[in-house]
């Protein structure tokens, strides 16, 4: 297994309810989540806004400390591993963020953004590797001299992808990476991701609030609702015969009559 999540719970202090004195009350955001991601699998994680998808993503990446439960990466328990110990293996699991305006340092050039993590992990030939990564995501090599704000939304997101794949990770987590894009850039970025998963043999967790985006890309899907998994199924089965009423609602909300349509655009 690439990832094994077992009864993961996560609570955060609710600062809006904090009394004048004393600690803020905790709100339970993840309420006991268990699932596995086998090696080579493309797992879709769907759920409405506020269902806890990003929180789950950040817990898996060890950006947030889980309250209880366990996270196993490639058989190793990383639930409470110290940051120092984790550092050596961070190269193996990477994340692509929803908003590249926030996840790309606005005052660093694209080349530096992609090369930075590689240098940290002692990779050589960073310049060539940056160019390779740009090639892989379909950006001209000259873009390494540009700042993020000099790119379009779709191009920025490709930089985010390039930064993640440049480390040659085994696992990538993509959190709503096409939500901010127009429909045609969405299709292009999704096609690119599908291609990279095949070419690089990646294991991928793909988070989205939009089932139509999940359908073609993912082998399995888990449906998240208010911090709990309400349904887990093979992608095809989920779309043909959804069980949970929440899944049916999500399916009904797909705007396009034919969800495959955007893929041919």
């Amino acid at each position: 297994m690439m990832f094994s999540i077992n009864d993961l719970k996560l609570s955060l202090p609710d600062m809006t309810q904090k009394p004048l004195f004393g600690p803020a009350p905790q709100i339970d955001i993840l309420k006991g989540i268990s699932f596995d991601i086998p090696k080579g699998c493309v797992l879709g994680i769907v759920g409405g806004s506020g269902s806890g998808k990003s929180t789950l993503a950040r817990a898996m990446m060890r950006l947030l400390e889980p309250t209880s439960g366990s996270i196993l990466f490639d058989g190793m328990d990383i639930t409470h591993t110290s940051e120092e110990e984790l550092r050596g293996m961070r190269q193996r699991f990477q994340m692509i963020f929803q908003d590249p305006m926030s996840s790309l340092n606005p005052r660093r050039k694209v080349g530096g953004i992609i090369a930075g993590p590689m240098r940290l992990h002692g990779m050589d030939r960073t310049k060539e590797r940056v160019n390779e990564a740009l090639d892989l995501v379909g950006l001209p090599q000259s873009f390494s001299q540009r700042y993020p704000h000099e790119l379009s939304g779709g191009q920025r997101q490709r930089v985010g992808i390039a930064r993640a794949i440049a480390l040659r990770p085994e696992f990538i987590l993509a959190d709503e990476i096409v939500s901010g894009l127009d429909v045609s850039s969405q299709a292009q970025v999704l096609n690119l991701l599908a291609k990279l998963v095949k070419e690089l043999g990646l294991t991928l967790a793909f988070i989205s609030h939009d089932l139509s985006v999940i359908r073609r890309l993912c082998d399995r899907v888990i449906v998240l609702h208010q911090g709990l998994i309400v349904e887990e199924a093979e992608s095809q089965i989920l779309f043909e015969s959804p069980q949970a009423s929440y899944t049916k609602e999500l399916l009904a909300a797909i705007p396009l009559p034919d969800p495959d349509q955007i893929w041919d655009a």
Binding site: R58, M61, L63, E83, L86, R87, G88, R90, Q91, Q94, M95, F97, Q98, D99, S102, S103, L104, N105, P106, R107, R108, G116, P117, L120, H121, Y147, H149, E150, R163, L167
Partner: protein, 283 residues
Amino acid sequence: MRDAQKEMRRPLGLRLWLSGGWLFALAVGAILAPLIAPHNPLAQDLFAARLPPFWDAKAEPGFWLGTDSLGRDVLSRILYGSRLALFVALVAGTLTCAVGATLGMIAGYYRGWPDRIISRFVDIWMAFPPVLFAILLIAVLGTGIVSIIIAIVIIDWTRFARVIRAEALGQSAMDYVASAKIAGRTKFSTMLTEIFPNVLPSIIALLTLEMGISVIIEAILSFVNLSISTDSPTWGGMISEGRTSVHQAWWVLVFPLITLFLTVLSFSQLGEGLKDRFDPVLR
């Protein structure tokens, strides 16, 4: 479209040229004062007292901006005065910035107890009225350049700490910081390589502003005779002396005032100009 944006982003930079030009000229004047000052700034000549500036019919050649009531050359005194003013601006501004920005960045980025300690200090510090604080400090430290600089650093570091803390706090919430952690960057390295470049424009803007403020503080202290104890010329001292004879010889007051004003204005505009010119991000 994108090229048009680029064109717009790099205006002529008139602000930068004017403010930088004035400060550069002043710096050259200060450094070369012994060579280019037409007269000894301390030399008194009661027969040449209160000579008007060069355009006046009663002006004497060589005394471009006139003389004061003791017959000392105003231009030479301004040039020599700029040595102290610029030295204090540079040294006090840089030190204040280094102390305040470092503490602010640590507080905003590390949060937790470093933030609680630093923020508490800032709150307490800000409760002191600054001018009173300065005079008190000078009274304790004694007069002299070093005392002035120490006083400025002690009083004004909070300005940097407050602003840079807020900036660093905002930047820390950005996903590029999370991304650096996922890439395995240490906290300290993230602060230097990711946060710092993003708070640098604010630091530069505050730094030049602080240099202007240092000039004013030095002038105020000279004005109330708390600056340096020797009789070497200061702008504040000139303004103070010129004030008493403003009806007979306005130029003794007005020329140092204009110099002070232009210098402070230039410092504050320099920061904005540098940002327009060099910050890659358009805000």
